[in-house]
């Protein structure tokens, strides 16, 4: 599908991650200066120039599992630590939020406005750091340059690619259930009222023309929905009213982060292909992933500041319980690469993935994935 999808997927999921972390940092009463530093560190890593360069190269999407490792690293780009259960929950929330936004996106092109909503909010998180702000604006400039020129057809392909990426993911999210935008079976509610997309006419009219193009007849029909005209188009400029609300921060102190997870809510018959069949392409994917993450610079939690652990659940007990009760098919098993079936080795690989940025390998090495596999074999 579209080879222009990864930057949009990464930036929007990253934006959702920051919304959730920001809310949890406040809910957990982390001192403001510390919280600010955590967000600054993550944003700075996320928008790192070299990393963005790799991200914007035309490429296919990664599997959900592989992408998850990228966010694992990103979430740990500061002194803050998340354990497995909290990280699972964070990724669930991020993916379901962006799935919702893509599904309700009025025109395929509006995926860009959703991205801008995330970038606008991210800029608001940055405090006292013009350098980081500049990084984000540089990414904005790149987005405008590349995506501003795409046709409606190309955006449609991008949206289809994203929808296929999120297909069969039906995790129930309490904030969506409360707002009645998600049904109890995990499917999102698609409204049949409100404004039509910009450039679309309110349905309900048939017009007939003669050979000379003159309108000769007009008939109304009952469409079944209750739509109104779009008020105005959102702004695609650096600063401006995006009009569209999708992609803005939906969390606040009164609307905490929560998830319901239930095996029954997913259709077991429609489990994704990747979880069933061993993926013979895993090695190649690893190559791409290593190249991408080679551009991600990670700060080690050393120095004067002591680290802390963030919990995505209200209490530690809840977190422990979630780790125990998580349905197996939702388990990401950080990089469950089929090159080896050995659990122990998977853990080792995860450890290597966690450290390889620090190993300072030559960045141009195209065979980094091979190296990783070689290291696994030596273990």
């Amino acid at each position: 599908m579209s080879l222009r999808t990864l930057p949009l997927l990464f930036l929007n999921l990253g934006g959702e991650m920051l919304y959730i972390l920001d809310q949890r940092l406040r809910a957990q009463n982390i001192p403001a200066d510390k919280a600010r530093k955590v967000l600054n560190d993550i944003i700075s890593t996320m928008f790192n120039r070299k990393f963005m360069e790799e991200l914007f190269k035309p490429q296919e999407l990664y599997s959900k599992k592989a992408l998850r490792t990228v966010y694992d690293r990103l979430a740990h780009a500061s002194i803050m630590r998340l354990n497995q259960a909290s990280m699972d929950k964070l990724y669930d929330l991020m993916t379901m939020a962006f799935k919702y936004q893509i599904l309700l996106c009025p025109r395929p092109k509006d995926v860009l406005l959703i991205t801008f909503n995330h970038l606008d909010a991210i800029k608001g998180f940055i405090q006292d750091s013009p350098a980081i702000l500049h990084q984000v604006e540089e990414t904005f400039r790149q987005l405008t340059e590349i995506y501003g020129a795409l046709s409606a057809g190309e955006f449609q392909l991008i949206r289809q690619t994203l929808l296929i990426f999120f297909q069969d993911l039906h995790i129930r999210v309490s904030i969506f259930l409360k707002d009645r935008v998600q049904n109890s079976n995990g499917r999102f509610v698609l409204p049949v009222s409100g404004p039509v997309p910009w450039g679309t006419e309110v349905p309900g009219l048939i017009r007939m023309f003669n050979d000379k193009g003159k309108e000769v007849k007009k008939i109304e029909f009952k469409h079944g929905g209750h739509y109104v005209t779009a008020p105005k188009e959102g702004s695609f400029e650096l600063y401006g009213d995006r009009v569209l609300k999708l992609g803005t921060n939906m969390y606040s102190m009164n609307r905490p982060v929560e998830t319901h997870m239930s095996g029954a809510s997913r259709n077991l018959a429609s489990r994704t292909q990747e979880s069933i069949a061993p993926n013979p392409l895993a090695k190649e994917e690893l190559n791409f992933l290593a190249r991408l993450m080679g551009g991600m610079e990670i700060k080690k939690p050393s120095g004067p500041e002591p680290g802390f652990r963030l919990n995505l659940f209200t209490t530690d007990e809840e977190e422990e319980q979630a780790a125990l009760t998580r349905p197996e098919e939702l388990s990401y098993e950080v990089l469950n690469i089929q090159a080896t079936q050995d659990q122990q080795r998977n853990k080792e690989l995860a450890r290597i993935m966690g450290e390889f940025e620090v190993m300072d390998q030559p960045r141009q090495s195209a065979s980094k994935g091979d190296d990783l596999l070689a290291m696994m074999d030596e273990l």
Partner: protein, 334 residues
């Protein structure tokens, strides 16, 4: 009025692709075959009018280099004068099977050539005309394959240039025997329509300009082109001249599929706004122009519809697929 019938369960949910449902009616055995794309695989199944699915088969796109398995873009049954073939298009190429999907009789790899690495390479848009099968591609070219009455000696006989952007859909109708009869229409991502006359050499008759919105689905009925667009509009044109006769503000979101019941001139339109509409097309006895009336609106709640097809020639039943939905919904008139 239409009533919801028992739906047919799918092993895998339908992918968010346009025209993501193909139906083959086999009246002699009172069977209907359905084809739906899941993503990296496609599912074929057959069902009796009331019963559960009888047989299921999964097809995959041929593997190649790349990070992930190639995605399928469309499956479609092509009814030719002497045989029925199932055609599957993907990001790798074009696969043609015997109608039950059991044997692959032909494989055409897409040649990306000197295309820029930014461009996704794929085939999409399938239709048959006489003993030809026409398939659209990402580059805008339409490949014409000459199909023998039996056997695998399928040859690429012609490449049609008319589109500058990716082909979305192709529609044909049996030639009426007259000269200069337009019997094929192709659509693309920019909304441009090309009208062709089939034959040993296909001839471009006319082009109907787009307006920047993709045209994901087209149909052809008695010389009238029906086109569904990304802004929810359905437009009816005179095929031979390209004159616009009817413009319908039909849907609130992008149209993803049209279908025709040729015997009765009924048109189905389905869109991402969760609605399916049925329209009746007719020729005005006075002016000879195509006219249209709205017959039925069906809402499929919370479903981004991605495929719709009539299940019988008289248009009294239809089937619907939706993104993320692991079933085929069926409706029939009461």
């Amino acid at each position: 009025m239409f009533r919801r019938e028992r739906s047919i369960p799918l092993r895998c949910s339908a992918a968010a692709l346009c025209n993501n449902l193909s139906v083959l009616q086999v009246p002699s055995r009172n069977l209907t075959h359905f084809g739906v794309v899941h993503g990296p695989s496609a599912q074929l199944l057959s069902a009796a009018p009331e019963g559960a699915p009888l047989a299921q088969r999964q097809l995959h796109a041929k593997e190649g280099a790349g990070v992930s398995p190639p995605l399928i873009t469309q499956v479609h049954w092509c009814v030719l004068p002497f045989r029925v073939l199932l055609v599957l298009t993907s990001h790798r190429g074009i696969q043609m099977y015997e109608s039950d999907g059991s044997v692959m009789v032909y494989w055409h790899a897409l040649d990306s050539g000197d295309v820029s690495p930014v461009q996704a390479v794929f085939a999409r848009g399938i239709a048959s005309s006489g003993h030809f099968i026409c398939v659209g591609t990402w580059s805008g070219r339409v490949l014409v394959f000459d199909i023998p009455a039996k056997g695998p000696n399928i040859v690429l006989s012609e490449e049609l240039a008319g589109h500058q952007t990716s082909v979305t859909d192709i529609a044909t109708e049996p030639a009426q025997g007259q000269d200069c009869m337009a019997d094929m229409v192709t659509a693309d991502d920019s909304g441009l329509l090309c009208v062709w006359r089939s034959g040993p050499e296909f001839k471009l008759m006319t082009q109907i300009p787009g307006f920047g919105v993709p045209c994901p689905s087209v149909q052809l009925w008695h010389g009238t082109v029906a086109a569904g667009y990304g802004d929810g509009q359905v437009r009816l044109y005179e095929a031979s001249t390209g004159t616009l006769h009817v413009q319908i503000s039909a849907h609130a979101r992008a149209i993803c599929a049209l279908d025709l019941a040729p015997e009765v001139g009924k048109l189905l339109s389905a869109a991402e706004d969760t609605f399916v509409h049925i329209w009746k097309l007719s020729r005005s006895p006075k002016s000879g122009h195509t006219e249209v009336e709205h017959c039925h609106a069906e809402c499929v709640p919370d479903t981004q519809v991605c495929g719709v097809r009539f299940c019988d020639p008289s248009g009294s039943s239809f089937a619907v697929t939706g993104y993320d939905l692991a079933e085929i919904l069926r409706f029939s008139s009461v």
